[in-house]
Symmetry: C2
Subunit: 313 residues, 2 copies
């Protein structure tokens, strides 16, 4: 008797090569894969021993043995595929972002409400990192005091462009590439998780510093931004849990995101300062300091590194 | 035969207590001091053995033995005092900022041009720090390449409010207090020194997180901002030396300034990244890294610390 749903995968990027073995290890059966071209679908299907491959969306969606789909392809197709899948009764796990514009996201939300029994998840994973779960708990316990002044986020990652493919969606802003959609959407999800608030005002600047790569030169240019800085005012509460009480001023958030192969190793830092102290996540660790006290380590990411290392090896 | 000009000092803050002994060590004679109240002027005159004190501006300016004035008082008086002094033929060294609005600054520039032989300096001192002089040289030598992407500035300092005085101009935005005028003006001067460019667009947010102190409570509140974040586009060249050549996009600058007694020690960091590498000043040291090469230290602030230590002791 088969209990776990059969899985159809959309996309042929490096994340597919990582996630399919993981799913199998957990007992799932991956039955079909879709690629933008028949060749790319065939290639990955062969590599990962997936029995069925195609470049036609419906040929995966309409299969009876596909109950859950993983949307891991270009963001400009996220809404189209997810909405269709939810409409014919398939569970959907969609990589971030939820489409490339607000309209896409609203369509997906509406589709997910049509059959409420279906699982529909947008993959914003930062909130599941133990350091952030712990940070949220500390904020609720007033570690930095009742008045929270500032949340400052800085992320440096290596280039988001898939150099193996030549020109593809990761180079193109309109197809959903770039740091604002791929990393910025994570940050915004994380902020709403930590604070229970939603943005009421925003200002930002995006830039594409590296408009050429070794394989993308000449007429075609990279348009996907590799730099973004923005400021948010978080004012509107999402639900009962939120960090603004009484007649507080909106919470200010400053964010800077940069992707470059020259920027050095991956680096993420989120600092929240308040009247009574500060909390910060650096990498996967949580640190804190109450006013006039010494810095303390509140969560160290050692166990997780061990778990991940064991799973991979 | 007296060669060095006699000095009149405006202001009674802590910087006066530091600068008067320095001036004397260099052979200058400090002949008069002005304070906002007769009592504060008398107090500092007695402490520093300055022969004449007053609370009337003209009584310092009109003295025959005063040839050079140091304007070290509240910024809302900078323009008024400097313009009057330049008009009657006195040299002026004015602490930053040059007044509290553009109008003030323009008046001061005009006054300084009336007798071109008079010395008139606004004290923006960061450009004289050896690490920044060296950074400018490296930028001219294309250390980070011809395409400069980003200049990112972050400064943390202790509170700018003079707690000894109770409520004074350092608490008041309209009198020139706060981090944007007192530190931000330094940053803007430094940027024009480093890049040879002036800002063509700007966006920013300021906040006053600490609106009460131990001595300022109740009806009177601190209005001077203790946090500022802004983004500049530097596009217009100031002179022949500038970092934009050909049809380059404007240079993006992101700045974050914060003052708080809880923020830990003083901390300044300025990073410039370009196509071929990065340069950064941290504290008083200059570091660099060319793409695919190791980080190197280009200037270490050891000598200066020794010089300062010797001067003070």
């Amino acid at each position: 008797m088969k209990m776990l749903p059969g899985i159809g995968v959309f996309g042929t990027g490096s994340v597919v090569r990582i996630i399919v073995p993981f799913l199998r290890a957990k007992g799932f059966v991956v039955v079909a894969i879709w690629g933008r071209t028949p060749a790319s679908a065939q290639q990955v299907a062969k590599e990962l021993s997936i029995p069925f491959y195609t470049s036609k969306v419906d040929e995966v969606l309409l299969r009876k043995d596909v109950d859950l789909i993983f949307v891991l392809c270009s963001p400009h197709l996220h809404a189209q595929i997810s909405v269709k899948a939810l409409g014919i009764g398939k569970h959907v796990l969609c990589d971030r972002p939820a489409g490339i514009c607000q309209n896409d996201a609203l369509k997906m939300v509406k589709a997910s409400q049509y059959y409420p029994s279906l699982i529909s998840i947008v993959n914003h994973s930062l909130r599941f990192l133990p350091a952030f779960t712990m940070m949220r708990k500390c904020l609720r316990d007033n570690y930095v005091g009742k008045r929270i002044d500032l949340c400052d986020v800085r992320i440096r990652i290596s280039s988001l462009i898939d150099e193996t493919e030549g020109y593809d969606w990761t180079c193109d802003e309109r197809m959903g590439g770039g740091i604002l959609t791929l990393v910025g959407s994570h940050v915004i999800d994380l902020l709403s998780f930590l604070t229970g608030l939603r943005a009421t005002r925003v200002h930002g600047v995006i830039r594409t510093f590296e408009s050429e790569t070794a394989r993308v030169q000449g007429i075609r240019r990279v348009t996907a931004p590799d730099f973004a800085t923005f400021q948010l005012e978080l004012g509107g509460p999402i639900n009962d849990y939120n960090l603004l009480t009484g007649d507080r001023a909106p919470l200010l958030v400053t964010v800077q995101l940069m992707s470059s192969n020259q920027a050095g190793a991956f680096n993420q830092e989120l600092v929240i300062t308040g009247e009574a102290g500060a909390l910060w996540v650096k990498g996967g660790d949580l640190h804190g300091r109450r006013n006039n006290a010494k810095e303390e380590c509140l969560y160290l990411d050692v166990e997780d590194l061990e778990v991940i290392t064991k799973s991979v090896t």
